[in-house]
Amino acid sequence: MDALVAQLQMQYRNYTVSLYQQGFLDDQFTELKKLQDDASPDFVAEVLSLFFEDCVKLIGNMARALDQTGTVDFSQVGASVHQLKGSSSSVGAKRVKGLCVTFKEYCEANNYEGCVRCLQQVDIEYKALQTKLQDMFNLEKQIIQAGGKVPQVDIN
C-alpha cells in the first residue's frame, strides 16, 4: 500500500509541475492552494468550478455579441473579455488570461476576425484546463483513497 501511495504521490507531483511548466497555471493558483486544508478540503475544486461556470456564461455572451448581423458591439464583447481576464487571473489560469489580453486588444481595435479567432481559442483553452485539473483532482482522490496524503508541490 505504501508503495502505491508513493507512486501516486510522485505521479501527482510530476503532473502538477507539468501544468505550471506548460503554462496552464501560474503562481496565483499556488495562492489558491494555500487556502485548502483539512477544514476545507475541496476549496480549490469549488472555486475552480465557479470559474468554469463563469467561463461558459461569459463565452456565451461573447459569442452572442459577435454573432450580431450588422454592427457588432465590440465594447459589449470587451466587457465580457475583461471579466474573464479578471477571474482567470485571480485563479491562476495563465493561458486563459493570456488569451484574454490578446482578445481585449482585438476588441479595442474592432477587429472582428481577430475576436472570432480568440473566442475559439479561449473556448478550447478553458476546456483543456478543466480536463487537466479534473485529472489532477482525480489523482488527489486516489492518493487519499490509498491512505496517503496529498503532497505539497514545490513549483520553484
Binding site: Q28, E31, L32, K34, L35, S40, F43, E46, V47, L48, L50, F51, E53, D54, A79, H82, Q83, K85, G86, S87, S89, S90, V91, G92
Partner: protein, 178 residues
C-alpha cells in the same frame, strides 16, 4: 444570479446558493448575519467608562466587505480573509455595498472592485464617503489608470489584481494595529 452568504457559527462556514426568486430572503438573512456579527457592541463598549479614562477600542470581529461581481474572485478573497481570522461579507456591485451601509451596517474594511454592473467601484466609493463612511476602502484595480479615480473618490489604498494572500494579510494586520 448567485449570492454568497457566509454564515458564521463557531468558525463553521455555510454558503448558500440561491436562485433569483429567493434573493429577498437572502438579503434579509445577510442583514441579520451582518447585524449579529458586526453591529453588536463589545462588552468593553457597553460598560461605562470613568471620566478621563482612555479606553482602547479593539475589534473583536474584523468584518471585511468584498465588493466584486465575479464569483470566483469573491470566493478567493473570502478564503484569504478567513485564513487571516477576518469575517468576510459579500456584495455583487457598488450599489449593494452602499445599500448595506444605508441599512446601518458597518465594516472595518471594504475591498472594492471597479468594473461592476449597476454601480462601479469608484462611484460606490464616492457615495460611501459622501454618506460619511470612514471604513478603510481599498480599490482593486485591473490597470494603473484606475488608481487615480479610486483615490480621488476617497479610497485609502489601491491594490493591483490578482490579489494575493499576502495583500490581505498586510491589510488586516494594519487594521489590527490601528
Amino acid at each position: 444570479m448567485l449570492l454568497f452568504i457566509p454564515f458564521l457559527y463557531n468558525s463553521i462556514q455555510y454558503i448558500a446558493h440561491i436562485q433569483d426568486k429567493h434573493d429577498q430572503l437572502l438579503l434579509i438573512l445577510s442583514v441579520i448575519v451582518v447585524k449579529c456579527c458586526c453591529s453588536s457592541k463589545s462588552k468593553e463598549e457597553e460598560e461605562e467608562v470613568p471620566a478621563g479614562q482612555v479606553v482602547k477600542k479593539t475589534f473583536k470581529k474584523l468584518c471585511v466587505l468584498v465588493v466584486d461581481d465575479d464569483r470566483s474572485c469573491r470566493s478567493l478573497y473570502m478564503g484569504f480573509i478567513q485564513m487571516r481570522g477576518g469575517f468576510p461579507y459579500m456584495a455583487e456591485n457598488g450599489e449593494e455595498a452602499v445599500n448595506l451601509y444605508r441599512d446601518g451596517q458597518t465594516f472595518n474594511l471594504i475591498l472594492m472592485d471597479n468594473e461592476m454592473p449597476v454601480m462601479n467601484g469608484v462611484s460606490a466609493t464616492k457615495e460611501l464617503r459622501d454618506l460619511g463612511v470612514t471604513s478603510m476602502i481599498v480599490g482593486l484595480t485591473s490597470h494603473e489608470d484606475e488608481n487615480s479615480g479610486f483615490m480621488e473618490a476617497g479610497a485609502d489604498h489601491c491594490l493591483a489584481k490578482p490579489i494575493t494572500f499576502e495583500n490581505i494579510y498586510l491589510l488586516i494586520e494594519q487594521l489590527k494595529d490601528e
